[in-house]
């Protein structure tokens, strides 16, 4: 039988270019899927795609919305990526974000007004502490009782959201709020300044970018960052080298928790301006995908946050323009991750010359 002299083999160490190309391939596949979807429902594919993805970006306000939604994704995903590198699977960022909003919001409502110019730092620190404490629980349970942080961190998402709902229906509800489940508005002095007039993105964006640089330095230039990488790549090698897995878990959980908490408080002290029962359209879950699409690398995560933010914007304009439900965003998110994982597989293959010995068998 005739055999091609080339065959497909697995490349044990795909090049940086191959790893970087996979997200692009996944993005293209997602766009093609969308175009096919529009075509089947009788819409012009190109026009619909540009209507939901490009037109929102044609105004200053729209560009601001893009950056606004990218900011919490950056915070959450940068933190998660640090953990994922070390095999620490924090998937409860949504809950840590909620706890950050609760802790920071509590300070903003009841303590910060008395602190003067220290009010805002106190509020932001409380947000980070709230998220970090919520992430400390799964860390404690994993290091002390060997409990999978995947399940415990996820269960705590539901608990945090119920806690927020309880506060918004009772203790912290705005007495003048016509019984809406929300707190009173934060003082103007506690609302984060905007980066430019005529849009809603706040200086939290600069914070997220600074965090990206800090994360890069942590990974590349610190002993702890290196130790976490080894723990992730080869737990056995890490143990042999005397690197503590427990410490990786603690660092991974606490950093990602604090970052998610910061995302939460900057959302409520930014575009929302108060506490309310729904504060996040699933940023904490979307950040898991962002971390993977960004290749767990700070620069990649920043770019992937912008991409995911565009998906949120696209989902919103699809609701308005095409009457699709809000959940279309999470369908797109799920699809994107499927495509990315598949693209990773195909980018990890290469063509190799068939050896004479192999051909003989």
């Amino acid at each position: 039988m005739f055999e091609l002299p080339l065959r497909i083999v697995r490349n044990p160490a795909p090049s940086v270019a191959a790893r970087g190309a996979a997200p692009l391939l996944a993005g293209v596949a997602l766009l093609l899927t969308l175009a096919a979807g529009f075509a089947t429902f009788g819409q012009a594919p190109l026009r619909s795609l540009s209507a939901i993805f490009l037109e929102p970006l044609s105004t200053i306000f729209g560009l601001g919305e893009w950056l606004l939604k990218a900011t919490p994704l950056m915070f959450c995903a940068l933190g998660l990526a640090l953990g994922f590198r070390a095999n620490v699977w924090n998937i409860g960022a949504e809950g840590q974000l909620t706890m950050g909003a609760i802790a920071g919001g509590g300070v903003a409502l009841y303590i910060a007004p008395a602190l003067g110019i220290f009010g805002m730092p106190a509020m932001l620190l409380a947000g980070m502490a709230g998220g970090a404490c919520w992430a400390a629980l799964p860390a404690l349970l994993r290091t002390r009782f060997h409990t999978s942080e995947i399940l415990t961190s996820l269960m705590l998402v539901y608990v945090a959201q119920l806690l927020l709902a309880w506060l918004m229906h009772g203790q912290w509800q705005d007495p003048q709020g016509f019984n809406f489940p929300q707190s009173r508005a934060f003082d103007d002095a506690l609302i984060l300044p905007l980066i430019a007039a005529g849009q809603r993105a706040t200086i939290a964006l600069y914070g997220a970018l600074a965090f990206a640089i800090a994360a890069w330095v942590f990974i590349r230039r610190t002993h702890r960052g290196y130790a976490m990488l080894v723990c992730g790549l080869s737990p056995a090698a890490a143990r042999y080298a005397g690197l503590s897995e427990e410490r990786s878990v603690w660092w991974g959980m606490l950093i990602s928790g604090a970052a998610a908490g910061l995302a939460g408080i900057t959302e409520v002290a930014g575009p929302i301006g108060r506490l309310q029962t729904s504060i996040s359209p699933g940023y904490g879950f979307a950040a898991i995908i962002v971390a993977f699409v960004g290749r767990l690398h700070p620069v990649g995560v920043v770019l992937a946050s912008l991409l995911m933010s565009l998906l949120y914007l696209g989902g919103e304009s699809a609701q308005v323009e095409l009457g699709l439900p809000a959940a279309v965003t999470s369908v797109l998110q799920g699809l994107l991750l499927f495509y990315l994982l598949a693209a990773d597989h195909f980018m990890g293959l290469r063509l190799a010359r068939r050896s004479v010995a192999a051909r003989a068998t």
Partner: protein, 311 residues
Amino acid sequence: MSLDYPIALCTATAVAATPLVFAGLGELVAERAGVLNLGVEGMMLGGALAAFAAAVASNSLLVAFLAAAAAGLVLALVFAFLSLRLGTNQVATGLALTLFGSGLSACLGRGYAALPGKALPALHLPLLSDLPILGPLLFRFDAAVYCAVLLVAAVSWLLFRTQLGLMLRAVGESPHVADELGHPVDALRWGAVAFGGTMAGIGGAYLSTAVTPMWVEGISAGRGWIALALVVFAIWRPWRVLFGAWLFGGMTVLQLHAQALGLAVPGEFLSMLPYLATILVLVLICRDPHLLRLNQPAALGRAFRRERWGS
């Protein structure tokens, strides 16, 4: 004192436990084959919507359960293709499946939210259902509750009393050794994942046709994740899944009846109970590392790729 109320609590517990039994048992089989599928929540939601929609369209509950099984199966096959055929990270793939399934069910289910559902009728067994106390306690459930218990027995028998079960467990412990012995590792894993998806779909169907016969977005409310925790709680043994599901079912029922019993605890805190209980039982099981190491399938979550000689 009338026994009606305690009996009602017990039967409500069994009803609340049934979707967890189906989903947990399916995941148990997949994990016994070494595959960790975190997409249970997504597959349950897919099944719940498929069942509801099929019941509305056909007015037949048999069709509804078949549609749910098919929906769960299709979603599981997507997972199997990615994680088993392409060897992608099982944790990430499962998460993607949950996001995809919950998003898709919310999208497609929009038109069904206001419609009245079709509820699974209780069986009336001659003589048995009319017994005093035992009748209402044991013999007036719908068919799915009995099926769930029979399924536990069937899976237990299959896993521990048949050659197929032995092969499946071998694949979960050491796929390479199983492969060397000539067992079809990939086929067994595909089968186990497909079974898991089918069962998660049926569990979802039970939610939207019996527990609460209606469709709302996110109807499963984390039950898929609780089913995953249940498998750990059960240390990968079928009968313990049943026991654990009753425990969690009881928790949900207590939460609903607490206000009726006059407990002055806010509803939100009662709603936290199943999630907190999940964490608690995970800690109780996992704190003994030997128990975990002895019972957890050794190759759980690891991709299998055959090393080819001469290449």
